[in-house]
């Protein structure tokens, strides 16, 4: 039985001798090769995803003005940024916006900052002895701010449901425009290429894992919010709905707009398309078996976004989704993705090249994620509250 360590694999990467495949390539290989053969031949498998990830944002430090201000209300290009972090630190969330201009949000601020554009900053403070200034209006850019780093509390969902709409009314959701009477179905993960579907029990991904984040090297820093290990799994042990997630971090100044894109989903709001790639070491046969999983072996749930409580209408494989049609309630329904497989493949290929060139090494997680984690829901205690 072959077992490899992180150190052995990194040694091979440094020597330019590591065998690296994308998850798509290893899925193909798995049709004919056994897990034992795969672990002997392959050292690292690159996985990737490129999709809208609403729980994303950037931490920015503006630097101090003279005289200084303790910023207690902050607008960047009119978009509200968080004011509760010391004097000149802020967090711009991807979904933040000025309600009068909902199609331009924090995601756009982040993209424009990355592109090197000049943005308008306005900030207000009450004026204190040490921070006497009460207002500042100025411009900022990637060059003028001290730090600008992406810190995304929930990214890279392990699987996600398919969205349909059984009602008679067209609805607008974060899963795209859903036509009435089950006339379309949308889905969002990259299936066999998706990071957390290739390591469903998180054997190799944890705190400290070095990743590809929007074109730069980033890190996994924590389990993502709503991290859930209790979702039902299929016969291969892969969750059949949204389960585990990642919190990630990386230097915005080093990223590329090719892999970070601001978006506005009609009548929903702004969000950020984030590109994530994770290299997974083929440590043993168990990992080889996990990594060679194919679209026809990964299932997900079809949910009705038109009905209260989003009831489940069925379960399909990614191979069915990719075929262009699925069957829901006996009806043939046209499918379309809302996340980019073309971009995800580009990321997996790029990460593979970095590994082959010895520019990227694997990290053994500093700490693994919890084995048991479930979700709480929000209980309503006041029935009288005014909207």
């Amino acid at each position: 039985m072959t077992v490899k360590s992180y150190e052995e694999i990194n040694e091979k990467i440094r020597a330019g001798k590591a065998v690296v495949l994308t998850a798509g390539e290893v899925a193909e290989m798995g049709r004919t090769a056994s897990p034992e053969e795969i672990v002997k031949k392959v050292d690292v498998v690159t996985t990737a995803t490129f999709g809208a990830m609403c729980s994303s944002g950037a931490i920015i430090n503006f630097g101090h003005a003279d005289p200084p201000i303790r910023m207690e209300k902050i607008r960047i290009n009119g978009v509200p940024a968080y004011e509760g972090l010391a004097a000149v630190d802020t967090y711009v969330g991807a979904t933040a916006c000025n309600p009068d201009k909902p199609e331009y949000g924090g995601a756009h601020v982040i993209q424009e900052l990355l592109e090197g554009k000049t943005l308008e900053l306005e900030a207000w403070g009450k004026g204190t002895d040490c921070y006497p200034r009460k207002f500042i209006k100025t411009t900022i850019s990637k060059e003028t701010v001290n730090e600008a780093y992406l810190f995304n509390p929930r990214n890279a969902y392990q699987n996600y449901n398919v969205a349909v709409n059984s009602t008679k009314r067209l609805i607008h959701t974060y899963m795209g425009t859903l036509l009435p009477n089950l006339r379309n179905a949308t889905y969002s993960t990259s299936g066999e290429l998706s990071p957390l579907l290739n390591d469903p029990d998180m054997r190799t991904i944890g705190i400290g894992t070095r990743i590809f984040l929007c074109g730069a090297q980033g890190f996994v820093v924590w389990p993502g919010t709503q991290y859930n290990t209790a979702k039902p799994v299929n016969s291969l042990g892969v969750p059949v709905s949204n389960a585990r997630t990642l919190a990630v971090i990386g230097n915005l100044k080093e990223m590329s707009p090719e892999f970070l894109r601001a978006a506005y989903i009609d009548k929903y709001g702004t969000t950020l398309f984030v590109g994530i790639g994770i290299p997974i070491p083929v440590l043993d046969e168990d990992m080889a078996r996990r990594l060679s999983i194919r679209d026809d072996q990964i299932e997900t749930s079809v949910l009705d976004y038109g009905s209260p409580g989003t009831p489940k209408l069925g379960q399909v494989t990614y191979a069915m989704l990719r075929s262009g049609f699925i069957t829901v309630d006996g009806k043939k329904v046209r499918t379309a993705p809302v996340a980019s497989l073309a971009k995800a493949r580009e990321i997996a290929a790029l990460l593979k090249n970095w590994l082959l060139a010895g520019q990227f090494e694997l990290t053994r997680p500093v700490e693994m994620f919890p084995v048991h984690a479930t979700l709480q829901s929000l209980k309503e205690t006041e029935k009288e509250g005014k909207p």
Partner: protein
């Protein structure tokens, strides 16, 4: 010579009249059928591109109208900023005409403009706002 596009809606009983024959023969119009949705015994619709002189096209349209065919000129076209596309598929989800498609092997967006019926659903559906309407 001009080229114009029209959507034709026929009543159920007009299916077997040789309408296109008359357009070609009597008005010297070249017809390119871009899309046809004809259900036997029901209403049907056609997306046509007509090529001919302006006066002949006008006469041809008058003839069709006299045959109870509703004729709607398509003066708008969808424009698309291809270089910014991320191939996400949000527009494909709403394009029932099949003009926008995304499929194996490369999963890059294909836009077949000749299939577009200018329903405009893709305009708000694209999260990057890459479509707009061009009036001609």
């Amino acid at each position: 010579m001009i080229i114009k596009r029209f959507i034709l809606n026929f009543p159920p009983d007009s299916g077997d009249k040789p309408l296109s024959y008359h357009l070609v023969k009597d008005y010297d119009i070249r017809i390119n059928i871009l899309k046809a949705e004809v259900f036997p015994g029901k209403r049907g619709s056609l997306l046509l591109e007509l090529q001919g002189t302006a006066s002949n096209i006008e006469k041809g349209i008058a003839y069709l109208t006299s045959q109870n065919v509703e004729v709607e000129p398509l003066e708008k076209r969808i424009r698309f900023q291809e270089e910014k596309c991320i191939d996400c598929g949000n527009c494909v989800a709403v394009c029932f005409a099949g003009a926008l498609t995304l499929s194996a092997p490369d999963w890059k967006l294909q836009f077949d403009k000749s299939q577009c019926v200018v329903c405009e659903l893709c305009v708000p559906a694209c999260p990057l706002h890459l479509f707009d309407i061009n009036f001609q």
